[in-house]
């Protein structure tokens, strides 16, 4: 059975409201972290905490390991080199938020790749990451 992991941007997108997620669903701790950070109140936060605990209990949590961090750093370096090359030596400055999002996307991608899980996302960053992680499985929702 194919395994899927939804990215944060899919969960927060309008389209996700109209369709249920596919089986078998896995959950990234990074995605959970992003969702919980954006919570508006304790009710919303607690719901994610409950889902996290259940996912952990059922061994459905995907957690980046130290090797993922190492590889994520390499991919971010390569993407930065690409940017510089394409910009003729000096790339445009990116905001801390954008850099952080790319770093987290790399961690989601690498941990899913290691577990042979398909990432469901509409974020183009993942296709950029895939250029350096050829076997990463991606699907648009």
């Amino acid at each position: 059975m194919p395994k899927f992991l939804p990215d944060t941007n899919i969960i927060q997108s309008k389209i996700f409201a109209t369709r249920n997620p596919p089986s078998k669903l896995f959950y990234s701790t990074v995605v959970f972290g992003e969702l919980m950070t954006a919570c508006n109140d304790t009710k919303e936060l607690k719901s994610y905490q409950d889902a996290w605990k259940l996912a952990d209990k059922n061994e459905l949590l995907v957690v980046p390991i130290k090797e993922d961090w190492l590889e994520a750093s390499r991919i971010q370096f390569l993407l930065a080199q690409d940017r510089k090359k394409d910009a003729g030596g000096k790339s445009l400055r990116r905001t801390a938020k954008v850099k952080q999002e790319l770093a987290l996307d790399c961690l989601i991608a690498l941990s899913a790749y290691r577990e042979n899980i398909t990432v469901i996302t509409n974020d183009n960053d993942f296709w950029a990451i895939q250029r350096y992680l050829k076997k990463l499985k991606l699907l648009k929702f």
Partner: protein
């Protein structure tokens, strides 16, 4: 362009300002939905988020009912 969209585009331009043209494979429409207790708990949380982000979706649903 909204701030979020702008940020997304900046991120998408990780390839030195070029818009990336991915080979896109879409999730099939006839997939089997996840009905596990974990998925249900997760979707319960997601519904709270969605209601906050897209209240109009739920208002329209209420009106239909």
């Amino acid at each position: 362009m909204s701030k979020t969209k702008e940020t997304r585009n900046q991120t998408a331009n990780s390839n030195g300002g070029k818009q990336i043209e991915p080979i896109v494979e879409r999730l099939p429409k006839d997939f089997e939905p996840d009905e596990s207790p974990t998925a249900k708990a997760f979707m319960k949380a997601v519904r709270i988020t969605r209601k906050r982000l897209y209240p109009e979706l739920y208002e329209a649903k209420k009106k239909r009912a």
